[in-house]
């Protein structure tokens, strides 16, 4: 049993090696066990609907009870397009929720608002959007994007592909060329055969 726990701990730590631990840690006057239970029930579907781009993405949580950590791997097709974690740290009578966001190849956080992706998973920046995920979980309410801080109009490919998705009802796929709707990609494939697909280097190298 103890070996299993230790194994889980090691896996959790390994999964987040290279993650930056945000300075803007969130304190809640909620005990750590309760806070963790609320995070486990966080409205990840609401978060997804509010922030996703034009391709379907899937959140696969891994829950580490020992460290009170949840890590979500975000996938599309057979590729991991993002990852983030939330970690409960006891503090006084309450809890601090630490966001754990992996580093990008340039040393900054993934989806920090400056990253460029050909097939983005969600709107940037991630950190304030995650804060609302945590706030909503702690208040045991649905995710509410209206509570996000003003981030200006988003003119990225994410926003335009999201609009295409909503307008057509058809998501594009990670195996479609960047900027093409799935319908356009299928038409191009039928005319020209296989198409070159850009691949994003989302994560930086795992550090020591």
């Amino acid at each position: 049993m103890r070996t299993c726990l230790r194994g889980g701990l090691v896996i959790a730590l390994l999964a987040l090696v290279g993650c930056s631990q945000g300075a803007d840690e969130l304190y809640y006057d909620i005990g750590p066990d309760d806070a963790f239970a609320r995070l486990v029930k966080a409205d990840i579907t609401g978060f997804r609907d509010a922030r996703q781009c034009g391709m379907l993405i899937y959140f696969e949580p891994t829950v580490y009870d020992v460290t009170r950590t949840i890590i979500w791997d975000v996938t599309s097709g057979d590729r991991t397009v993002a990852r983030f974690g939330l970690h409960v740290i006891p503090k006084g009578n309450g809890s601090v929720i630490e966001m754990q966001i992996p580093k990008a190849p340039d040393g900054k956080e993934v989806y920090d608002g400056t990253q460029k992706y050909s097939h983005p998973a969600f709107l940037q920046p991630l950190r304030p959007a995650l804060r609302e995920l945590v706030d909503a979980a702690m208040e045991q309410r649905p995710y509410d994007w209206h509570r996000l801080p003003e981030m200006g109009v988003d003119y990225t490919i994410c926003a335009s592909m999201r609009q295409n998705f909503i307008a057509s009802g058809q998501p594009y796929r990670i195996d479609d060329p960047s900027g093409m709707t799935h319908e356009q990609a299928e038409a191009a494939r039928s005319n020209y055969g296989s198409l070159p697909i850009e691949r994003d280097d989302v994560f930086g190298p795992v550090g020591p």
């Binding site: 997804r48 609907d49 996703q52 379907l56 998705f165 909503i166 009802g169 058809q170 998501p171």
Partner: protein, 200 residues
């Protein structure tokens, strides 16, 4: 204190508009017979500029007690967009009622529903939007006055009531935007749910 000062310009503007409108008596007297007044008004049309391109009036038609103009939905929404559904449908009747008074005619204005619109609903609509009621009355009053005094229709004479109508409609406009936003957000969620369900 600061916030009181900040509200002054808006309050003063609204007061000024109300004062200007209060000066517009609902009854105008003209030194002409009712028949002559009717004859001058029949066949005239209210300039489209009065409706901002969103509607236009048909020619004035003689009625038992005066003249009426049918207001129809215009070909555009006033914003340069696509043609509006229901173009040509009558939405209201603007009436100038003529009553012999002394050696002339008293003219009052009224808004009535077209035959296929429920009068109770029509009244309720304008009860909820008094600024719009005032604006349309002001428009027909200006139309009649300009014709009967042989001068062009003056947009300046109706712009105050238009401004007041817009001001009074701001809460409704805001509510409409909120409602539209909620509908769009629900559409977004439904679209996504369907796409995820289809991918299972």
């Amino acid at each position: 204190m600061k916030s009181h000062f900040a509200q002054w310009p808006r309050s003063l503007a609204a007061l000024a508009l109300l004062t200007m409108l209060a000066a517009c008596d609902d009854t105008n007297h003209y030194p002409t017979s009712t028949d002559a007044a009717r004859a001058k008004l029949v066949g005239t049309t209210i300039p489209d500029i009065a409706f901002g391109g969103s509607a236009h009036s048909g020619p004035g038609e003689a009625t038992a007690d005066g003249v009426q103009w049918a207001v129809e939905i215009g070909p555009a929404d006033g914003l340069g967009g696509d043609p509006v559904q229901g173009t040509g449908d009558k939405v209201m009747m603007l009436k100038a009622k003529l009553v012999a008074a002394g050696d002339g005619t008293d003219l009052t204005v009224d808004l009535t529903p077209p035959p296929d619109v429920d009068p109770a609903k029509f009244k309720a609509l304008f009860d909820q939007h008094p600024g719009m009621d005032r604006m349309f009355r002001n428009i027909v009053q200006e139309q009649a006055d300009s014709v009967l005094t042989n001068r062009p229709f003056s947009y300046a004479n109706v712009s105050a009531s238009m401004a007041l109508a817009v001001l009074s409609e701001l809460p409704n406009i805001r509510q409409q935007l909120d409602d539209d936003r909620k509908v769009y957000e629900q559409h977004e969620r439904d679209t996504m749910d369907q796409a995820y369900d289809a991918a299972k």
